[in-house]
C-alpha cells in the first residue's frame, strides 16, 4: 500500500532528475562485455568537466597510483572499468543533488562522509570475503543511502519533519520515516536507482540494505553493505542525523562467519582507509 503510494508520489515529481547522458552511457557500455577502454574513454571525453574531475581523483592519494595518469584511456586501463564507472556515477549523482536540499536539518557533508566510509568498509569486507571485484562493492556502500538525498531534495517538508522526529525521539531515521511517511529512504532509493537504470546489483543493495534477508538471491550483497553501515556507525561515522548503531541482522552476520578478531582487524583497517579516502570527499561534494 505504502509502496504504491510512494511510487505515485515520486511519479508526480516532474523534475525528478535523470542521470547525465554520459553516466547512463557509461553504465550501458560497461554492461557490455566487449566494451573496451577506448570506448569508455571516448564516452567520458564528451564531458570535459568530468574528464578533469576524474583525472584529479585518479591521481589523488585515494587510488595511490605511483605514477602519473594523464588521459582517460590511461585512467581506464590503470584503474579498471569498475572504478571508472564508479567515478562517473558518483560524479553524476552528486552533481544532481548539489543544487537542491542540504541545510541545518540535513547535513550533506555528514551524509557523504558516512556514505564514503560505508563504501570503503564494504570494499574491505568484500576483500576479506575473497571477492575478486571489491571495487564493484565500493559503489554499493557509497550510494546505498541515495534515497535520503532524494527525500531531502524532493520531499523537503516531510523529510525535515522526519529528521526532527528522529533527533527528538533519538530513534533511527528509518523508523521515523516509517512512522511519519509509511516508507523509508531505502524504498525511495530503490525506486530512484531503478529509474536511473543503475546496475541491477546496486539497485538491490540500495533497496535492501536494512533488511538483507528480503533481497533473496542478492542477500549477500545487501548484507555486506548492511554490515558496513553498522560498523561505520559503531566507529562514530554516522550519517549526521541519528548517529545510532542499529542491530546487525542475525542471518547476515552468520553468512560472513566473522569472529571478534576479524572485526577488530576490520576496525583498524577502516580507520586507515577512511583516512585515505578524504580526497574522494572533495570529489563528491
Amino acid at each position: 500500500m505504502a509502496y504504491i503510494n510512494l511510487e505515485n508520489r515520486l511519479a508526480k515529481i516532474t523534475d525528478l532528475p535523470t542521470l547525465s547522458t554520459v553516466a547512463s552511457n557509461i553504465i550501458q557500455i560497461t554492461q557490455s562485455p566487449k566494451s573496451s577502454a577506448l570506448e569508455v574513454g571516448r564516452a567520458i571525453s564528451q564531458d570535459p568537466a568530468l574528464v578533469s574531475r576524474i583525472l584529479r581523483i585518479a591521481n589523488s592519494t585515494f587510488y595511490g597510483f605511483p605514477g602519473k595518469i594523464s588521459t582517460i584511456p590511461h585512467a581506464v586501463v590503470i584503474l579498471g572499468f569498475v572504478n571508472i564507472r564508479n567515478l562517473v556515477l558518483a560524479a553524476s549523482i552528486s552533481r544532481i543533488f548539489s543544487s537542491k536540499g542540504g541545510d541545518a536539518y540535513f547535513d550533506r557533508e555528514g551524509f557523504w562522509r558516512h556514505s564514503l566510509a560505508c563504501g570503503v568498509t564494504s570494499k574491505l569486507i568484500a576483500k576479506r570475503l575473497g571477492m575478486k571485484n571489491p571495487e564493484e562493492v565500493f559503489i554499493w556502500g557509497l550510494l546505498h543511502d541515495v534515497g535520503k538525498l532524494a527525500l531531502d531534495a524532493y520531499f523537503k517538508e516531510d523529510f525535515t519533519r522526519v529528521v526532527c522526529l528522529a533527533k527528538e525521539k533519538r530513534i533511527l531515521l528509518r523508523d521515523a520515516e516509517q512512522e511519519l511517511l509509511g516508507f523509508d529512504h531505502a524504498e525511495v532509493g530503490g525506486i530512484v536507482a531503478d529509474k536511473w537504470a543503475l546496475p541491477p546489483a546496486l539497485i538491490k543493495v540500495i533497496r535492501f540494505h536494512h533488511n538483507p534477508t528480503e533481497a533473496n538471491e542478492s542477500m549477500r550483497m545487501a548484507a555486506i553493505v548492511h554490515l558496513a553501515d553498522v560498523l561505520c556507525r559503531a566507529i562514530g561515522v554516522g550519517d549526521g542525523v541519528d548517529n545510532k548503531v542499529p542491530c546487525i541482522d542475525e542471518e547476515s552476520w552468520r553468512l560472513f562467519r566473522f569472529n571478534k578478531q576479524t572485526i577488530k582487524r576490520l576496525f583498524s583497517e577502516m580507520e586507515r582507509e577512511i583516512g585515505n579516502a578524504k580526497a574522494f570527499l572533495a570529489f563528491v561534494k
Partner: protein, 534 residues
Amino acid sequence: MKIAPIEQDPLFLRKTVSDLREEVDQLTMLQDISKQIISSYDFDQIISIFLDLVKELIGYSSCILYLYDEDSNSYEVTISRGISEKDLKGYKLDDKIINWVLKEGRWTHISSPKHSNQKDDDFVSVLPLQGAKRDLGFLLIFPDPKKNAFTQANVKRLSFVASQTGIALENQGLYSKLSHSREYIRNILESINSGIITIDMADRITQINKNATAMLGLPSADIIGFSYKAALAEDLVRRIDKVKKRTLKDGFTIETVFDYFPAKDLRIPLGLNSSLLLDDKFNRIGIIIVFRNMLALKELERLRQLDEMKSEFVSNVSHELRSPLSVIKSYVETILDQVDADDYQTQREFLTVVNNETDRLTALIDDLLDISRIESGKFEIELCHVALSEIIQTVSRDIENKSNRHEIVVDILSVLPDLLADKDKMIQVFLNLIDNAIKFSPDGGKVFIRAGVKGKMVKCDISDQGIGITGKDISRIFEKFYRVDNSDVYEIPGTGLGLSIVKHIIESHGGRISVKSKPGKGSTFTMLLPFGSN
C-alpha cells in the same frame, strides 16, 4: 555539446545481449578448461596451461612470469615466452607500480618498463597471481599491438584464469611441501635403528620401515594397507594381538624380549614395545610398534663385561705378583737382620718359604706368558707318546706335599693307551686342575682322579668335595680373565687365567674339557683326550 544517449539504441542493446550470452558461454568453457589447472599438482603443467590460456584469450606477443621467491624475498623470473635471454635481462620493473598492481589485484596496463629497443609510450600489462592469503607473483604481458585486448570481458576472463592458477599453484606448493615432509619423516623412520610398524584401528599396516622388514624377515615392505594378521607370521600376530590389547588399555607397553625365528635356523632375540597413536584431537588412530634387535645389544654387553674383566685382571695380577714378593722380601730381611748366623734350622725354614713363593711367582709369570702366546697365536705344543699314568703320578706326588688336609685318590685303568701329547703342557693341565680342586676345597677332603677309555678317547675326571660352582658361573669359568666372585665368603687368590689356558691346551690336543658341579658338594672336571695313533 549534445550527447546522444545510447540506452534506446536497439542495435546497441541487441549487441549487448548477444555479447553477454557469448560471455556466459565463454566463462562456462573457461571453467571447464581451468579444471585441468586446478586438478594438476605438476608445477610445469599448471604454468604451461595457464600461459596457453592467456595466449588464447588475448594473444600476447611475449610474456614473462615472475613468481615470489622466499629466499631472495623478491619476484624472480620463472619462465618467459617469446623473449630472448638478453632482452629478458634488459627489463627493469618499477617495484612501486608492481606493488600497487598486486595490491589492487586486477589486470592492469602500465607503461612499458624502459628498454632500449622500445618506444616510450608502449604499454605492457600486469596480471597478478594471487593465492588465498598472499601474492604469488604476476605475469608481465607484452600484448599483440594489433589486438584491442583491454576489454571488460578479457579483464573478467583473465582474472578468472589467474585466480584458478593462483589456487592451483598454492595447492601445488602445499602438496610438494606435504610430500617433502612425508619424505622427511620417511627418512627419519628409515634411519632409526629399530624396526617400526604402525597399524591403524582396523589392524591395517600403515607404515613399516626397512629395519622392521629385515628383522622380521619379511620378503618385502609391500604390506602397507594389509591387515597385520594376514601379513605377519603367526607367532608374531599373537604377540601383536596381546600388545595391541594392552596398548589400547594403558596407552603403551614396556619392552618385552622374545625369540623370533625369521627363518628355520635363525633365532633373533627381539625387544618389542608399543604406544598409542593419537591425532591432534586425541582420537586414537592406531598403534606404533617398535622392535629392537637384542643381539647387537648382547654383543655390546659382552664387550663391556670383557672390559670390566680386563681391568679386574690387571688389579688381580698386580696383587698376585705383589704378595709373594712381599713374603720373600720380609723373610729375606728377617734372615739377614734377626736370625743368628748359625741358626741353620730357622734359616732353612725361611728359605723354603722364599723358595715356594718364588715358585708361585714363576708359575704366575708362566701363565701370563702362556696367555700372551695364546693371544698372539705363538702357543706351540710338542707331541710325543706319553702315558697318562706317568703324568698323574708326577703331579699327585708334587701336590701331596703341598697340603696335608687333602687326600688325593687316584683310580686309573691299568691298560690305558698312550696319549700323543706335549708332556710338560699336560703336566701343567693336571697341576692346574688339581691345584684348583684343592684351592676350592678350603675345608679339606678328597680329590679323585679317575681315568678310563670312552670310544677312541681317554676320559679323565678330576673331582673334589669343595665349594662347587653356581650355574651362573659354570658356563663362563673357561673364559679368559673370568673369576668366580666369591670374595664375600672365601678369599681365594687367582688371576682367572688358569682354566682358560687349560682349555686351550686340551683343545689344541684335539680334546675337550667340561665341568659339572653342585654348589657346596663339589665339582668334576672331565677331559676327553684322543689316543696317540700307532
